[in-house]
Point group: C2
Chain length 244, copies 2
């Protein structure tokens, strides 16, 4: 157990509620984001692709399936989460998929009411990802975008899963449950993880005692956006792939 003076922080910029309302313009630079962590996930201006950040390097899967290594620190993102790995619980998992992550794993590590980061590497028997296509103004809703986004599959691929678990009560702010991205070891295949299975993966889990939620308060679209709370949770779950 940790003392109160020791802090494990997940930094999140923006909210899925605001993305859902169509505020897809970038509001934080890659450079500013990386000040808060070396590892994470997100998307670029206009919902341009799926981002995975590993050891301070930023990779962007775009909707053609291509993966860019992003080095422009001025590029902007509307939504992203990062952390600095620390106090890791080592993992050695057999027969892993979303079903096992959602079942025994969540129960065993008592994740239900906390934010946590998952990092898993190994050879995957099967991986299916989706990649959000870049949108132009006037931006549609995230739900509209989700209906038409391309998916890609790969079998027998070595790679890494990075992502987060969020408690149910934050399901209007971010994706409740697991929100995971994938990057292959050869950096040629990546995206938002929809399905996977692997016989054996190793990695680590970090449980956060602090969520540092950052809002783009200077952005007029964010300040004036109207959120439809009645449909928000379902829309987020639908657009993020229903992994809960």
């Amino acid at each position: 157990m940790k003392g109160n003076d020791h802090i494990n922080t997940l930094y999140e910029h923006g909210t899925l509620a605001s993305l859902m309302a169509g505020n897809m313009a970038g509001t934080i630079t890659v450079g500013d984001l990386l000040k808060h962590g070396s590892t994470g996930i997100g998307t670029f201006d206009g919902l341009d692709g799926e981002v995975i950040i590993l050891d301070g390097e930023v990779y962007q899967a775009v909707s053609s399936g291509h993966v860019n290594h992003v080095t422009d620190m001025a590029a902007k993102m509307p939504f992203a989460s990062v952390h600095q790995p620390a106090d890791l619980t080592k993992l050695d998992l057999s027969t892993v998929d979303f079903t096992s992550l959602n079942g025994d794993f969540v129960h065993q590590h008592e994740l239900g009411n906390v934010f946590a980061a998952l990092h898993l590497t190994g050879t995957f028997d099967h991986v299916k990802v989706r990649i959000a296509p870049k949108q132009e103004k006037p931006y549609p809703s995230l739900l509209e975008v989700a209906k038409g986004q391309p998916t890609f599959t790969r079998d027998g691929v070595a790679g890494t899963i990075i992502g987060y678990y969020a408690p149910d009560i934050f399901g209007s702010v971010t994706a409740a449950g697991w929100h995971l991205h994938f990057l292959s070891d050869d950096r040629q295949f990546a995206g938002h993880l929809l399905e996977f299975n692997a016989a054996h993966l190793t990695g680590d889990l970090e449980i956060f005692d602090t969520l540092e939620q950052h809002f783009p308060v200077a952005d007029q679209a964010f300040r004036q956006g109207e959120v439809d709370l009645a449909t928000l949770r379902d829309s987020i779950a639908q657009s993020e792939g229903n992994h809960q």
Copy 2:
């Protein structure tokens, strides 16, 4: 407008969801809380009263109506929010009540999607507060407690309102809309604000770009607590007085 490197932070320990589930034991000391701000609101171990923190001094209204000046830095709280006042927008308001705060005020300052702190002082024509009575284990739900809590009124009282505005999408985590506490200038009358009106109040507003949400991850009751998301928002609104 502020740059990305300037941060206004609201620090919140615990969640109303966890209180609602009956986890009312204190999980942060007053001393640790005050490291994160000089101004704020909260409650003590066992939901013992209504706390208002002003200039680093901690006042606790207990259910008899008495107000304690708390100097025990080891006393524990299950839920509290504090901030360090900065970048204040000065306020000079006429004919103020919850209706005006919920209407023009929220619209004018574009509070809908942000966290903000409100600080108002002056002479109040009328104030009605409620004070949560201390609970013993096994703790009931917050909603059960809310049904039987005493209320107090005072007319023509000089005092201070301190509290926060939270966006709708955080209504499962904390109280959506206004969550305000009151403390009289003579420190003899305080509580969770249910009604008020005043002809003229002055004070200030602070808009936060960051919510630092802290979770008691070492607390087993918190980790294992089950949240009933279907009824949570309504239960919170009901127990916090429906000020939205």
